[in-house]
Assembly symmetry: C2
Homo-oligomer: 133 residues x 2
């Protein structure tokens, strides 16, 4: 079966919560979408690094790798640091990923950005707080 690789990239944090969030989100995606092989990688402070997880994908049976940043909005990590690690020129969203013995497309997805689902998440958290009074 042809499968797609997703590398979920987190910011990383000295506290455990960012890593937990990224790993739990990866787990939710894996359960709901068995056609994706999902791994996590972190920009800073946590392991595995983005590089390490990209290397891990080299021996997986995937025919495309998508790097999806679990970041709210574009910033310096999204615009410069992550593309550099991926080997993409700045502003480029597509490249090639050299596997063991073959080359597959490498794609760079957008961060979360403005989305009605995000507004719904904010309302949900506000309502949970309001429920306490």
């Amino acid at each position: 079966m042809s499968r797609k690789g997703i590398l979920l990239v987190g910011h990383g944090s000295k506290l455990p919560y960012n890593k937990e969030l990224v790993e739990e989100t990866a787990s939710l995606i894996s359960r709901k979408h068995p056609d994706f092989i999902v791994k996590c990688g972190f920009m800073n402070m946590n392991k595995p690094s983005i590089e390490d997880s990209m290397n891990e994908f080299k021996s997986e049976a995937i025919d495309v790798l998508v790097v999806v940043p679990l970041f709210l909005a574009k910033g310096i990590h999204i615009l410069k640091d992550i593309p550099t690690i991926m080997g993409l020129p700045e502003g480029e969203k597509r490249g090639s990923f050299r596997m063991n013995g073959r080359t597959i497309p490498l794609l760079y997805a957008d961060p979360i950005g403005s989305d009605p689902l995000l507004a719904d998440l904010m309302i949900k958290n506000a309502e949970q707080a309001l429920f306490t009074i």
Copy 2:
């Protein structure tokens, strides 16, 4: 009509994207939920500050104020900095907000955290990138 105040708190950034995200999310909430009065405040780098927006709420016809952080996960800003600005002891989710002439409940909502909606947003962005090949 009794209305609820929502202060949407963003991290702030030197680049314009975090501020745009927070303001667009506030706008989406306002349109969908006319029972909420929504304002934005930023932890760092952007204006208005959290303090300034809290002051703006003092003359609004609200009977509760909820501070909702537009952050992915708990970190030092969520656990220490924002509660300090709100006048809440660390770990406390409820306090009082002194308006012009009266006092109303002040609530502190959780950041986004792990949520199936977040996994759906990641998949949506991955699918958009995959659509380009």
